[in-house]
Symmetry: C2
Subunit: 644 residues, 2 copies
């Protein structure tokens, strides 16, 4: 339930450097998604063919405040005559600020080798600058850069601000500069809030590289990375700070992504981190997701028949027909797959754009109304389907790639959506004892550059937890894979969503993204209590499980203490094997359906929580070879050697 | 001239992990470009649906030796009972080796936390393994991984091999593992050559990150990176080593690049590094390149007229017509531009594929015959044009993108190619005193992933030197730029080729690569002794120089000590400005020609050797805005938010 809302909500701001495009495009994007203000990054002004006053007018017209002008570099503690020149330089930039209509400039700590290591001198210089600013009604904020020559910690910057003791001089804090050094931030709570002039927020993945490269290329929005930004913000807010929360992110991928998409991710991250830090209007708790209730495929009649045939070999039966639409239910044990060939529907639109593909997922949740309220507060796009008489309304929202996510709960009387909406066919009770028990995981292929946005979406809206990043070699390029998992996940319960990205367009993941013009479900793993029995039964029924190379089993025998019988059983059933300290994992993959998606059958033994990533290269190589046999890529390679 | 050729040439080998594709594709690619052997990387075998004997047969059929099987990990100095299990594991892999038909296995130093820190124990284990190998006629090579738990330097590995004192156990050296740690390699010369069983070579860019990530993602071929691989190899060869030279490269970009292209780069790098290390058949010296003699544009009649019009505004005059082809010469001062609209020619083919674009460059060289001999030895594709009666044959080779590079020298009588091949029109002598003096640099846009290949090509074939890598923010993504410069370059002399890569397809560079289906010349910079006068004169003639934002000049005044008159002069002439410790740089850019290429006028003052990279973002923003005015990308962004 929502926490009681505090009276105060922080203004949300974003630095123009965080967004791609020309300066007007950046401003438009920030305004369009609902930011209150922008930081004007100086380079964006220098390359803009209009005056600072023009920028002010555009921003005002869009309802954006200019929260700060930044950065002013290498100012303090310089030897004469640079000191005098720097004060002149400041006056010229004060002119710009006044034309822009902002009263605050960010001075970042000096990185020059000839800067003097003397906090008193730095304080005196900043006091002089602040005094000059003050005469014009302007203010100066001082920030410690993580790679500053002599000042790189917030406490040093605060000490200098304190010494300078000028009302127009305050501290600027930045989560990246503090957290990247692993610096202690708890003391920020003790700084008088009104002495903090500005708070910049950025997250980042943990990378072992020099901090400048890390900062310039890999920052991302709070909740997208691995730094304790929430804890940092909690300390800052405890000081009594009431200025804007502003995103300043340098990220190679954001530079090339459409600006509105990035801006929306950014605003979502700020709303989320503000709530996590215990401020803002608060957010409803995330839903408890018990599992994936169904997956819906957009098909036409031909694809329907072909996919239904494949599902038949996997042991699914035709279990029902929708009361009012050309929508069929295929079912096995706890798995519901819906094939939607309704014309003139959202599904048919999806089919036309993406071909046969998953157009919707449904999660079983404890409280769909609360989940929708949270999603709405986090600026998700909600969706309302046309509903026939007597049919259930299933609330839904759109994932960042447009895939629908339905939120299903049994109604008070315990009736399922299937009973409400479908003519169910009687089960002949002949289901195999080895039948599937549910959907173990659903893997999605994402366009290059969109991992951060999807991680934030699932983390913020559903409370899913991002797991370790894996790098998986496809024969035609590296795949980066990170699973988002519901916190309650255990064998047979919860939602697991591996997200996969390929830099190359030659991998299966890359081709999928190219062919479907976007992201989408790339593979679906079904849970089984006895994968061996199931796969054996299904192979006999003609299911297209991949034939696993004998070399794999020879090596498996070397790696794991498996006896000959166990090994022979795995080999006969085309099962891959993994184990960790918690348990074991058996799994088999099918060939892909029209080079789009494929299925997997998995069996989790003990408390194994991974996804058999170690075996993914085998799967990818076998699938690539099958495709190669059908469509030899090497001939393409020879024709246009430089195209990929 | 070629050095006297030693009798011995090293066998050239490449690890399968260095190439993309399925195992058969990798083998085919290695054989196709002329490698003698391959290292079989175990994962490539495990994912291959055929037996080790099948691999042997395929390799034999292709004329490839299997030089080594690798890696065998975490073997030595393990506590019992792992020790016994590891010896069993070794026996299983010996079976595989015998089926593969290779006698050598690579054991890399143990990375396990429970490995015992005891060289004597490691030596005993390796001696036992070597003895077992020996019984089967096999050999074991031991290599220090840079991140080995206890053994990470070659000298430690050599000490262990020495202690073990078994004829079937030798040392394996790897340039990356030694050079990445900055380890001293001079002592390798003192190891008895026959005790080194195998030499692996890899280069890498200098990056400040953990060595494991660096190794797994960023290695490249010798000459593509910044490590002293030549010096390392010189020391190895001084030992008397006579085994294969083998490339083992883990590189994300190579994983997705067409395998033959990568393999060709690899073989070229080995031939080059072998010669640099003073062995092998030797290579003719690289040419001395004095400058760019001409650039040739592939056009049709319409593009000819439009481009000729643009060149007219820039002060070029129509200076001649080819004696036998629809090829026109436009000339100004020392700059020759050739517009080729000949039907049914290489140029017309180029035009059909790439649109109006540069299809050939010509370098002025001291000895074209020697240069061609070197290029041929380095496996370049040579090219021979059909030549009319009395016309000069100009030798040429193809750059990795297919662009022709002609090599021009004046003939003994001092006649230029122009007098031989063209009907030259009389010069009316009215050329401006401000006329261009030559071609300062030619910038090329490369497809993503091809920087290393191009750097190696220009470095190996022409002896050009790679300069610092720049990162330039285009409004729609980051551009990485590295110039290759002839060692004799000075103002007015030499060849300078900035190479640009965009990860994003939304930047001008990325769009260029997309639109032209490959790499090519993206901008051409003309040298001038008085850029100010020239641009002023040409603006009056209607030349489409970019209008530079006033904000740029306001900031320039803050950054550089320019007086008001100098600043006003720059501003009036749309000139950008840079200076460094050696001199200053004035330059102006034109708008792009059909979103393909554009021109620049530059003036180098003093000994300024850069390219005004600091101003590139201004140029890119102004060009982007001009294009935006014609074709607003933001509407595209909104339609398909996830496509880039």
């Amino acid at each position: 339930m929502p926490r009681s809302a505090p009276a105060f909500t922080f203004a949300k701001s974003i630095a123009t450097v965080s967004l791609s495009g020309t300066l007007p495009e950046k401003l438009e994007a920030a305004a369009a998604v609902g930011f209150d203000g922008v930081e004007i990054f100086e380079n964006d002004l220098l390359t803009f063919d209009g005056s600072p006053a023009d920028v002010r007018r555009i921003a005002e017209g869009l309802g954006l405040a200019i929260t700060i002008f930044q950065p002013f570099r290498d100012f303090e503690a310089m030897p004469d005559p640079i000191r005098a020149r720097n004060l002149d330089r400041a006056e010229r930039k004060f002119d710009v600020m006044q034309a822009l209509g902002t009263d605050l400039v960010l001075v970042c700590s000096n990185v020059q080798p000839h800067a003097i290591d003397d906090p008193a001198r730095a304080a005196a210089d900043l006091a002089e600058m602040a005094e000059r600013a003050h005469r014009r009604g302007l203010r100066v904020g001082y920030e410690a850069l993580a790679w500053g020559r002599h000042v790189n910690r917030w406490r040093q910057a605060w000490d200098i601000v304190n010494r300078a003791d000028h009302p127009a001089l305050g501290l600027i804090v930045d989560s990246f500069h503090t957290l990247s050094l692993g610096d202690d931030f708890s003391g920020l709570a003790d700084v008088p809030g009104e002495r903090i002039f500005f708070a910049q927020l950025a997250d980042a993945p943990k990378l072992s590289m020099d901090v400048l490269s890390w900062s310039r290329h890999f920052r991302n929005f709070p909740g997208q990375g691995q730094l304790p930004v929430t804890e940092f913000l909690t300390a800052v807010l405890a000081s009594g700070y009431r200025g804007p929360l502003s995103l300043e992110v340098f990220n190679d991928e954001f530079r090339s992504a459409p600006a509105r998409l990035t801006a929306l991710d950014g605003l979502r991250s700020l709303i989320h981190v503000e709530a996590e830090a215990g401020h803002g209007p608060g957010l409803p708790e995330p839903p408890v997701c018990d599992g994936v209730e169904f997956l819906e495929f957009a098909v036409d009649a031909a694809a329907h028949d072909k996919l239904a045939g494949l599902l038949g070999t996997l042991g699914f039966r035709h279990a029902g027909r929708h009361r009012s639409k050309a929508v069929d239910l295929y079912r096995q044990g706890g798995v519901n797959l819906v094939l939607n060939s309704e014309e003139d529907s959202a599904a048919s639109e999806h089919f036309q754009m993406h071909g046969p593909s998953v157009c919707a997922m449904a999660f079983r949740v404890d409280d769909s109304r609360r989940a929708i309220a949270r999603a709405e507060a986090l600026r998700c796009v909600l969706w309302r389907e046309r509903v026939g008489e007597g049919e259930r309304h299933i609330p839904a929202l759109r994932a960042p790639d447009g895939t629908l996510i339905h939120l299903v709960e049994n109604d008070a009387a315990g009736r399922s959506i299937w009973e409400d909406d479908f003519h169910l066919l009687p089960d002949d009770g002949a289901a195999s004892p080895a039948a599937l028990t549910g959907i173990d995981h659903v893997a999605q292929a994402l366009p290059f550059g969109r991992m951060d946005g999807f991680v934030l979406f699932y983390r913020a809206v559903f409370g899913f937890v991002p797991e370790t990043l894996w790098e998986l070699p496809d024969p035609y390029g590296l795949i980066r894979s990170r699973a988002l998992v519901s916190p309650n996940a255990e064998p047979g319960r919860g939602v697991r969503l591996p997200l996969n990205i390929s830099e190359s367009r030659r991998t299966a993941t890359g081709r999928f993204v190219g062919a479907t013009a976007g992201a989408g479900v790339h593979h679906i793993a079904f849970a089984s209590r006895d994968a061996g029995a199931l796969v054996e039964e299904r192979l006999a029924a003609g299911a297209p499980f991949l034939a696993i190379p004998a070399n794999y089993y020879d090596d498996l025998a070397v790696k794991h203490p498996l006896d000959d019988d166990a090994l022979a059983a795995l080999k006969r059933r085309e099962l891959l094997y993994d184990r960790d300290d918690h348990g074991a994992f058996l799994h088999a993959y099918t060939d892909s359906f029209e080079d789009r998606f494929f299925f997997e059958v998995v069996e989790r033994q003990g408390d194994y929580r991974q996804f058999g990533a170690v075996n993914a290269p085998v799967r990818m190589a076998v699938q690539a070879q099958l495709r190669e046999d059908r469509w030899p890529t090497r001939y393409l390679d020879q024709r246009h050697p430089d195209q990929q």
